[in-house]
């Protein structure tokens, strides 16, 4: 197995933004390269199949419109800033994991 790609791609396969960065290369030189999109944070390896590396072959079901990213649900919500946090343990939550 060898790394077919030598140049950083122009487009993110998932969101088609032009913000692709070379993230890392294989410790054994020339085997693979990992790229990442700084807009949608999608990562892929140069040796993966077309459906993960080629914007035109990327499955429609998994595409991401970069303009929609700010509208995604925020989980968990960011609490209001409290300049006088309570001392001691908080309200006795009963949840877990």
């Amino acid at each position: 197995m060898t790394d077919a790609s030598t140049t950083t791609p122009d487009l993110c396969p998932r969101c088609r933004s032009t913000t692709v960065q070379l993230r890392s290369t294989s410790p054994v030189a020339g085997v693979w390269t990992v790229y990442a999109c700084s807009t949608c944070l999608y990562h892929w390896r140069s040796t993966e199949p077309d459906e993960n590396t080629n914007p035109d072959a990327y499955p429609a079901a998994f595409r991401l419109d970069p303009t929609r990213i700010p509208d995604l649900a925020v989980v968990p919500i960011v609490p209001p800033l409290d300049t006088t946090p309570p001392a001691g343990a908080s309200d006795s939550p009963t949840t877990s994991t």
Binding site: S24, P27, R45, T47, P49, I69, L72, A73, V74
Partner: protein, 475 residues
């Protein structure tokens, strides 16, 4: 229950028990690792763990998968014979669980301190990160123990938390954290974010099998997973602290030290999740890694997540059943066993004695209000005490002959359910159903139940005798 010092000791046991397969040929990170993990879900209930020692692109790298991925491996993790039935494993798990609290033991040094990387951190170099399913948004750490404390009560060990949360690799030293408000770490993060402070965390990878099960168990907020592990194994659980005072399992392969960045959210996902569907994308918290420590020649442990059943379902099996049982049993001593094996307890089967007509429905309604039931438990099946809830042949028999839909089905509208349940409408809300599959008792006189078949007098004696003979015959 034996105390395994580390993952390596458990892998040795698995190998001795013919429950670990070594693949010596070179494999690619994609699609080989995900495909092998998926294939192991098709080889039957006693599928082995698998170890790869030649990963394309690395001089030295080792990956194990499916470590908890069968009833045999799960039994061995609990110190039981690998032939132990799910019911026997439930009973052993509950026996240890009800002994809480055990103890933790702090020691100054640990093997994971052998190699320290504190500059130019590159997770892609340090561990064989890979995509498991084609629609995953990247590479994930999906079997970590994430350790954190409550910033409002930092020195309170009982509020320290060990949780298993998926972590998406966002950069060489940056991760995304999938956390929902019900998680303990979300409570701690909220306390830190209210102060505008980062939340220090440690991420332990490649652990002995018990602490991973504890991290996946929905315990109370003031119950410490290490103390539960100590109770389960009957001796103190050994940990070593990081510089920031976070307790980490002594035997971990990798330890990542970092911070959840205050008040930041970033796109995360999708990732193939436990219901058998992709999770979608959300804006989740972000982690920056400051330091990585690891053993020499570390072993990377990852779990394949696909349509159930996979290793993930074993991680969520008794760890889900036992806490529900403990809460139910506290209110209703009649309860015998709880099977919450199905998709993290979206379907639950409970066996119970019944005292009078309508009693089983009360058990079902109480189950819906247990801590875990609130967010999962969409369908509850209640069976009689002599039905093994882990034996679906018996459960289906009870459903066949003891359920009259006119009177035995109760639907409660618009209750809470996990956001990841695809049937929720809207997401997070679902009707829930209780199926009363117990024999009606007065004053409920519905049906025409005569004498139930029992077994001939010496059946148990013959069962023991014939089982031994069959084992001898098969070697």
């Amino acid at each position: 229950m034996p105390a395994f010092t580390d993952l390596r000791e458990f892998l040795t046991l698995l190998e001795e028990q013919h429950q670990l397969l070594r693949v010596t040929e070179q494999v690619a990170l994609e699609p080989d690792l995900g495909a092998a993990g998926s294939a192991l879900t098709r080889v039957g209930e006693n599928s082995p763990a698998v170890r790869f020692d030649d990963i394309a692109g690395y001089e030295h790298s080792s990956v194990v998968m499916n470590v908890h991925g069968s009833w045999a491996n799960h039994a061995l993790a609990l110190g039981l014979p690998k032939e132990a039935t799910p019911k026997e494993q439930f009973e052993a798990f509950v026996k240890g669980y009800l002994k809480y609290p055990g103890e933790l033991q702090r020691v100054d040094t640990a093997p994971w301190q052998e190699v320290v990387v504190d500059k130019d951190i590159n997770l892609f170099d340090l561990m064989p990160l890979c995509r498991l399913n084609r629609g995953d948004g990247g590479f994930f750490l999906d079997k970590p123990c994430v350790i954190s404390r409550d910033p409002d009560d930092w020195d309170n060990d009982d509020l320290e938390n060990v949780g298993v949360y998926r972590l998406q690799v966002k950069d060489r030293n940056r991760l995304g954290l999938q956390s929902v408000p019900q998680h303990d770490i979300a409570i701690q993060l909220a306390h830190a974010e209210a102060r505008g402070q980062d939340l220090p965390i440690a991420i332990a990878l490649g652990n002995e099998p018990l602490i991973t099960l504890m991290g996946a168990t929905p315990m109370l907020y003031d119950q410490l997973e290490y103390k539960m592990a100590g109770a389960m194994q009957g001796e103190p659980y050994r940990v070593t602290q990081t510089d920031r005072g976070l307790d980490v399992p002594w035997g971990s392969e990798y330890v990542l030290e970092g911070r959840i960045l205050a008040r930041q959210r970033e796109v995360e996902g999708p990732f193939g999740e436990f219901p058998g569907y992709y999770s979608g994308c959300h804006l989740y918290p972000v982690i920056e890694i400051d330091r990585v420590l690891h053993r020499k020649d570390p072993i990377y442990d990852t779990v394949y997540v696909g349509r159930p059943w996979t290793e993930l379902d074993y991680l969520q099996a008794m760890t889900t059943s036992a806490p529900i049982y403990a809460q139910l049993k506290n209110d209703f001593p009649e309860v015998q066993a709880v099977n919450a094996l199905y998709t993290h307890g979206l379907v639950v089967v409970v066996s119970t004695k019944t005292r009078y007509g309508g009693f089983a429905k009360a058990i079902g309604m109480r189950l819906l209000t247990t801590t875990h039931g609130l967010g999962y438990a969409s369908i509850v099946i209640v069976v009689d005490e002599d039905v093994d809830p882990f034996d679906l042949n018996q459960v289906m028999w009870a459903m066949s002959v003891k359920v009259n839909p006119d009177g035995d089905i109760t639907i409660v509208p618009n209750l809470s359910v996990n956001l990841l349940s695809p049937a929720g409408q809207p997401p997070g809300i679902s009707h829930k159903m209780i199926i009363d599959a117990t024999t009606p008792k007065p004053p409920d006189v519905r049906g025409d139940y005569g004498e139930e078949l029992d077994t001939p007098l010496t059946t148990d004696v013959w069962h023991t005798k014939l089982t031994a003979m069959i084992k001898e015959m098969r070697g």
